[in-house]
């Protein structure tokens, strides 16, 4: 399985510093994106620390082979998923401990969404309001549910989805890394087929660019690096209130299929796009 990968991060239009951090390691099939918080540079520390800890842990796990993950209650998940979850928990512990020891960083924390792709299976872990989407069969599916107050209200039936987009307290998280000694990590396993796109992004993108526009961008643009640039531009055009980070992973089709897409498709692409063009 071959992956084509793009990634972009941008400070946005209104912030002065970028508290998002990411790692994109196509050779390992490992992608991690974090959106830090905690004011005066501490958010940057938290998100960077989370990304580095998770990547470091998984590289170590990879080199030691099939070591048993120590995570409890992970039965029923693939080994990779369990290892990813454990790496996220360790990163939580690292940030928490550092925050305890440094007064200036006491309030720091970060979201995380991570994907580890092995042999057509993506293991996903997430905490907070950074999201993962799968573009499959010309449809964009949300793979994660935000751990935010707004989402909890929607789930409880107190707020509908439309209104939630306008809510003022979208920035209140119910879960984050680094704020408590232990954290609950949401896990998913997603089979990937050729032609699928996996998208990881921070809320700076999803609050500015509706899901439909994201689907449209993928259907039209196709090239991961260009999709990322396109989405960052769209977020900035729509206000750019927060830092914007996006990683796009394309599962490449076989060469015959790519040839067909190039020569056999009507020009302009997006042959079966479900969303009407409006970019």
């Amino acid at each position: 399985m071959r992956l084509r990968v793009g990634a972009a991060t941008d400070v946005g239009r209104q912030r002065t510093n970028n508290e998002d951090a990411y790692a994109s390691l196509p050779d390992q099939g490992l992608f991690v994106l974090c959106d830090g918080m905690g004011g005066t540079a501490a958010g940057e520390v938290a998100s960077r620390l989370a990304v580095d800890t998770i990547v470091g842990q998984l590289k170590a796990a990879e080199s030691t082979g099939r070591a048993d993950p120590s995570g409890e209650g992970e039965d029923g998940y693939l080994l990779e998923t369990a290892q990813l979850a454990e790496a996220v928990r360790r990163s939580n512990r690292s940030i928490y401990e550092q925050a305890q020891q440094n007064a200036g960083q006491a309030e720091m924390g970060t979201t995380v969404v991570g994907a580890w792709i092995r042999q057509n299976m993506a293991s996903l872990a997430h905490v907070g309001d950074s999201r993962a989407y799968l573009w499959h069969g010309h449809r964009l599916e949300a793979l994660t549910n935000d751990h935010s107050l707004v989402e909890a209200r929607v789930q409880a039936g107190l707020l509908d989805r439309e209104e939630s987009l306008k809510s003022e307290d979208q920035n209140i998280l119910l879960r984050a890394l680094g704020r408590e000694p232990d954290v609950d990590v949401d896990l998913h396993e997603v089979p990937l087929q050729p032609g699928d796109y996996l998208v990881l992004c921070s809320d700076g993108l999803t609050r500015m660019v509706p899901d439909g526009e994201m689907a449209e961008a993928i259907a039209r643009v196709r090239e991961p690096e260009l999709i990322c640039r396109h989405l960052v531009d769209a977020a900035n055009r729509n206000g750019g209130v927060d830092n914007i980070t996006v990683i796009v992973v394309e599962v490449e089709e076989g060469w015959w299929r790519r040839l067909w897409n190039r020569w056999g498709r009507p020009s302009g692409g997006g042959r079966n796009a479900t969303v009407s063009p409006a970019v």
Binding site: D35, M37, G39, G43, R66, E72, G73, D75, G76, Y77, L78, L79, E80, T81, G109, R118, Q119, N120, M121, G137, H147, L149, A152, R153, V154, Q155, A156, G157, L158, L159, D160, E163, S167, D169, N171, I172, L173, L174, R175, A176, R179, E180, D182, D184, E189, V190, P191, L192, Q193
Partner: protein, 273 residues
């Protein structure tokens, strides 16, 4: 109304009336959310059955205990202590007064950037959310959100339809989940049948595969079967897979009796009804 008093290490964390079914677990959609790794996502539930109140374990990993005895299902007596992980739920048949013991609508400090609610604030917040939903159900009226009337047309409506039935109040949590089985009909495999308990079952040559294909030209991963509750979805990932003789291209829900041919291995999928 009878109630459950949630305690941890001697401290009372929350009280929950048992009107409709009370689901207990780690996931946020439970009525009683206990954020502790020892608690399963959907751990147990307590519901009314005629004049009785019953606790039922939902095949949790660490089990549900009543007065220190592990139970799968048991009628509760006044004062019984239900143990879920390290959290105690004391069953109070008489219930205090009818005033819900939830913390009032939690207020939020005003902050500019992203902020985080710690576990205590979080619980208070979710508690008040749930109180609002419960109040809405009892009044048969749409819930009032903290920021004015909410139009939660779908979710609360389900509860509103049949709140009076009591005993048969629709539980959000499904009955104990069924586990599907793949039986080897023909071909080489290391077992004669596989119970599909995992969230994902892989079929292939890879050492992460549960159903291990043997032979030179077999794909590393041929098929993934994803489980969500008692729904199983197959996705082909390599080689050739047929379901009931038809080539499998995209995702497909597996039904009881489906016959899978995965790179030469023939398997029968069965999901007891």
């Amino acid at each position: 109304m009878p109630r459950l008093v949630l305690q941890f290490e001697g401290r009372t964390l929350q009280e929950q009336g048992v009107g409709a079914t009370v689901t207990i677990g780690r996931l946020p959609d439970n009525v009683l959310v206990i954020e502790n790794p020892a608690v399963s996502g959907r751990h147990a539930r307590v519901f009314r059955e005629g004049d009785d109140f019953v606790v039922e374990d939902l095949q949790s990993t660490n089990g549900t205990f009543v007065n220190e005895k592990r139970v799968t299902r048991q009628t509760l007596q006044d004062g019984d202590v239900v143990l879920v992980g390290k959290h105690k739920l004391v069953f109070d048949r008489a219930g205090g007064d009818d005033a819900p013991a939830e913390a009032g609508p939690a207020t939020l400090p005003d902050m500019g950037g992203t902020m985080y609610l710690d576990t205590k604030q979080h619980r208070a917040m979710l508690g008040s959310l749930k109180a609002q939903v419960a109040a809405a159900k009892e009044a048969g009226a749409p819930a009032k959100g903290a920021e004015g009337p909410a139009k939660g047309a779908e979710a609360p409506a389900k509860g509103v339809e049949a709140p009076a039935k009591g005993a048969e109040a629709p539980a959000k949590v499904a009955a104990p989940q069924k586990v599907a089985v793949l039986r080897v009909v023909s071909g080489r495999a290391d077992q004669s049948e596989y119970r599909l308990r995992s969230n994902t079952t892989l079929i292939g040559k890879s050492d992460t595969a549960v159903v291990r294909l043997k032979g030179w030209f077999k794909p590393k991963v041929a098929l993934a079967i994803a489980r969500t509750g008692d729904r199983y979805v197959a996705t082909p990932l390599g080689g050739k897979t047929l379901v009931n003789g038809e080539p499998l291209q995209g995702r497909r829900d597996l039904k009881d009796g489906d016959v899978l041919q995965v790179s030469g291995l023939v398997l029968e999928f069965s999901l007891p009804q």
